[in-house]
Subunit: 310 residues, 2 copies
Amino acid sequence: MSAHFNRITIIGLGHIGSSIARAIKQLGLANELVATDGNATIRKRAAEIGLGDRVAETNLDAVRDSDLVIVCVPVGNIGKIAEEIAPHLKTGAIVSDVGSVKGPVAREMASHLPDVVHLVPAHPVAGTEDSGPDSGFAELFINRWCILTPLPEADAAAVEKLAALWRTIGANVEIMTPDHHDLVLAVTSHLPHLIAYTIVGTADELEDVTQAEVLKFSAGGFRDFTRIAASDPTMWRDIFLANKEAVLEMLGAFQEDLSKLTRAIRRGDGEALFDHFTRTRAIRRGIVNLGQDSASANFGRPNEQLPKKD
Amino acid sequence: MSAHFNRITIIGLGHIGSSIARAIKQLGLANELVATDGNATIRKRAAEIGLGDRVAETNLDAVRDSDLVIVCVPVGNIGKIAEEIAPHLKTGAIVSDVGSVKGPVAREMASHLPDVVHLVPAHPVAGTEDSGPDSGFAELFINRWCILTPLPEADAAAVEKLAALWRTIGANVEIMTPDHHDLVLAVTSHLPHLIAYTIVGTADELEDVTQAEVLKFSAGGFRDFTRIAASDPTMWRDIFLANKEAVLEMLGAFQEDLSKLTRAIRRGDGEALFDHFTRTRAIRRGIVNLGQDSASANFGRPNEQLPKKD
């Protein structure tokens, strides 16, 4: 199936939306790429850096005659935008999103959209800690997974057409139900972010250790957590509100395991600690073997050089 | 003060010991560098890759006439080695270590060493998730901090001589008490490792999400945690056993904060979440500004390239 569209619209030009726009443009996947954003400053910047063939001033103008509309805004806003654009969509258009929560979002979108368009919710599991239209890049999705969560009644050709686009910009495509997606992402993304946000906050508020000390000695491990705890606050607020049940379920499992390890430390049970630490090592190897992380030590962080011996 | 020694001995040729050995050799900081390890396979490998000018078969042979002995073994073994080498040390020798816990370790070393040597415990806050003699590299300590925790009665010249060595191989040196060190590292290193070990274990044992799914979709954040959860199990078992009190104290603070965020999620309190997530973002900036992490997105992980448009 061709990944080419006559007109594609991207609504929301943050990190993900601007990356998709760049990839589509670089690969020439649309005769016309229309970009827009609810924020006038971002629209202006998008026009300056040429994120689309045309930057539209309104969502309604942006979706007119579009064959594919991808809504790239925080999860809490997707439903509202679906409602707004619904009456203006072209018959046969594919409507998608990139939200990190799918169950409630897909249901809300479906409730607004007319039967003459094809809803195919999507979530590319990719991104950095950066935000905004300047932070995106066309290579972001290479070898990452994009999960599509079509409803059972979805049009198979529309699903395959969107899958072809994602594959062409480098992603692997997986299809699953919205609710299973939300459970999987609760553990691979939402819980890690919550834990990172928590520990970074904890370290910032201690009585006996100063913030300056935390920053200076962060290379002992802490700095790894600060990366994802620097992600966009609005995006993450919306994710936790929308995926509350699954996140709370994963938190419960995490708390049980933390209690087990805490007990082992309190009792001085070195064997239990050693066994656990040996098991987790294998998981890292699995991720690296699957190409989902760098095989280089320290994520491939660069090292400076020492002078050579005289 | 010159960072040069006549003879330096490294006991323990894992990631840190082999990195120190490489840096000393590369910069020519010893007339003779003697290396040894309790494991015969590692001694053989060290000889093959030339980690020292000489690989000694025993600790006693290794420390003979040495001016600086650095013990680079897991925290649980440092005391035993201090006891073993104590009668064989040269008068005036400096004895140091690289253990991640200092209070109990420094006290145990002090109890074994004779008055005629200078104990200067040290902890370079550096390292990757890799282990073993092949994983070390001379540049590991550049722009990282090395914390020295001399006892109040320590010889100032010996402290300054060891500090000069660490500075020469690229580190910044800070001096603090052993007990304060243990509190600082509990938050910047030990708690993050414990949390990472926990969550990686949790993700591996879920009923509703398969291990294959966890690995595939790990780029959503989870993979960041797997790096430090791949660290050496023996080293980390010993750290948690030795720094139990400080780790449990930090865990208590973390648990309180996690409860607060959990409550905000349960109640749908978006404002509390947004405020917290905004605050943690600033901490990342502080670490990057201090040069303690890469300013590049995603720790500088490399991206593949898309084909160019025809």
